[in-house]
Symmetry: C2
Subunit: 358 residues, 2 copies
Amino acid sequence: MTSKNYQLVIVGYGGMGSYHGKLLKDNQNINIIGTYDISEERKTASLVDGYAVYESLEAVLSDEAVDFVLIATPNDVHKDIAIASLNAKKHVICEKPVTINSHELLEIMEAAKINDRAFIVHQNRRWDEDFLTMKKVYDEQTIGDVFHIESRVQGANGIPGDWRHLKAFGGGMLLDWGVHLLDQLLFMVDSKITSVFANLSYILGDDVDDGFQVFITFENGITSLIEVGTTNFIQLPRWYVKGTKGTAVIHDWELNGKIVTQNLGEVEAPKPIKAGQGLTKTMAPPSEKAVSTSDLPAAIVLKESFYENVISVVEGTEEPIVKNEEVLRVLRLMETIFKSAEKNEVIKDFDAVPSKNI
Amino acid sequence: MTSKNYQLVIVGYGGMGSYHGKLLKDNQNINIIGTYDISEERKTASLVDGYAVYESLEAVLSDEAVDFVLIATPNDVHKDIAIASLNAKKHVICEKPVTINSHELLEIMEAAKINDRAFIVHQNRRWDEDFLTMKKVYDEQTIGDVFHIESRVQGANGIPGDWRHLKAFGGGMLLDWGVHLLDQLLFMVDSKITSVFANLSYILGDDVDDGFQVFITFENGITSLIEVGTTNFIQLPRWYVKGTKGTAVIHDWELNGKIVTQNLGEVEAPKPIKAGQGLTKTMAPPSEKAVSTSDLPAAIVLKESFYENVISVVEGTEEPIVKNEEVLRVLRLMETIFKSAEKNEVIKDFDAVPSKNI
C-alpha cells in the first residue's frame, strides 16, 4: 500500500508510552526512533528497551527526521506538547483523555489545521472486541431495536497510585475510563443526547472521582447507564443491552456472554412462582418455548487498525476512524457529566445548544 | 399468647385474595369465614375453595361476626372499601400498593384513628429472605459501611394482562413492584432522602410504566439504584451492595450469592492485565491474597410474622412492623418518582419539606 517509512518519538515513556512501543514493534510503516521523558528512571527504561533518549522536547521537535510525536504524558500537558509538535510540523498521536477540557482540544484542532498536520487521539477501545461484538448486536438488530444500553467496568483496586488520582494532572475515573465507555457509546448510538444525569463517587477520599454512574437519554429513545467503579469486589457484566426482541450480555473481557430472544407466535404463558414471601407471574421465568438462547455474534471488524488508519489519514487515503469532532463531543459530554454531578441536576441542553466554536 | 379467635373476610378473591387463603389456612387465630368478589367466576372459585360467598360489601360490613376485612381488589378501590370497613368498626388488612396516592392513605389513616381500628398494609416483602439477608449485611457491617445499594427485579413477561396494565386501576410496575423495593430500601436505610432521579420505561406501549430505574441519594451518603423491568430476557442480580470493605451480591430468589471482602494489611499490588485493546491495572483482578470470598450470612429474623404482628397490634401488645407512616412515605416517594420521571428532573425536596398533613 504505502512505501514511505515514518519515524516516531514517544513523549512520556510511562506505562502507556512503553505499551505503544510493544504495539509498534512489528509495524512496517512506523519506526520508533527515540523517547523523551523527564524522569531519569524512565530514560533508563527507554535505553534498556532499545530506544534512544532525547534530552528535551525541543530536541525532538527540531529533529527533522521525526514525522510523528506520540504523547503519553499525564493529561495536563497534552495540549502544550501537541501544539508545539504541530507547530514544528510533526503529526501527533495523543493518548486519551486528549485534554482536560474541550477548549484545549479546540486549540489543538486549530493548530493542526493551520499546520496541515494530523492530530489523532488513541481511542484504542473502539477496537475492543467486547465493544465491537455489542456494536454488531446493535447494528444488526440481533435483539430487535436496542432501547437500553448498560456499559460498566468495575475494579476493586481503587485508583492506581500515581498522577491518576490527582486533579491537577487530569486524574479521576471519568477522565480515565469514562472517556472510553462514553466514546464507545457515542460511536454506537447515532442520535442526539437529550439528557444527562450523573453521580460521581468519592468514597476513597481522593480529590478526583473514584467512579461514577451516568444516565444518558437519546433523541431516538435509547436510554443508557454508564458506570465505572474502583470499589467493586464483585463485578456486574461489562455489557447489558436490551432490545425489543431480547437481551444481550457480555460478562467480561474474555467475551463470556449470551443472547436470549423472544420466540414468535403463541407461547405458553409463564406460571406464577413463589418468590420470597409472595407469588409472582410478572417475575416468573418465561415458559420453556417462549425464549431461545444463543451465542454472541462475531464482532464487526473496523476497516483498519488504529495505526493502519493513522498512516491512511496522513497519506490522505482514508478518513480518520477516530474523528476529532467525535473526541470533542465526548470531552464536552464529560464536562456536562461533571456539571450534572456537581449540581445534582439533569442537564438537557448538551446537544440542544451546540458550542459556537464547532 | 392470645385466646381470641378472629373472623376475616377476603374482599377481592383474585390471585392475591386466594393467596391469603393459603397463607391463613393453618393460622390458629384467624378464620376466613367468607369472601366477596364482583366476578361470578371468582365467587365460584371461592365456593370451590370452601369459602362462603357474601353477595355485597354491605353484607360483609353488617355481619357482626366479621373482625377483619382483607382487601385484595384492584388498587383504585382500596380507599373506599377500607374507609367503609373501618367505619363499620372492622380491622382492615390491605394489599399493596395501599392506595393510588398519598391523600387517599391519609384519609384511611384518619378513618382508622376515628374508629380506633387497625389498618395494616400487607408489605409482605419485608419478610423476604433475600431482603433480610442483605439487611443483615447492612446492619452488621459485614462489608464495612454500606455506601451503595442496587436492588432489582427483572422479568421478561411484560405486564400481566389484567388491570395491572391500566392506569385507572393503579397499574404499572412502579406501583406493583416498585412499592416493595422502595419499602425495603427505606426500611433498611434510616436516613433522609436528599435526591430522587427516575426514568420510567414505556417500551411495551401500555399507558402505565413497564419498568423503571430510580437513583436515590440519602443524607448519610448512601446512594441507591432501584430497578424493575419486565423486558429483561437476562437478569442482573437481585441485590448488589457495596461497602467500604467489600461487596455483597444475591443473584436470585434462591439466595445464590456471595460476599467478597478486602483483606487487611500489606497485600501484593494487582498486576496489569490485557483487557480488550489496552492494558489496565485499575480493572485487573486483585491479587489472590488481597480478597476473601465468603457465604452470605443467615437472614435476620423479624420479631413476628406478618399475621402474628397483625394480632399483636389488634391486641395492643406490639407496634406494627409495617407502620402506616412508613407506607405513606413510600407512597410519597413513588409520587416523587412519577414527578421526577415526568419532568426528567432531580427532585431534592422529598424529605426537606415534609407534607403538612403528616
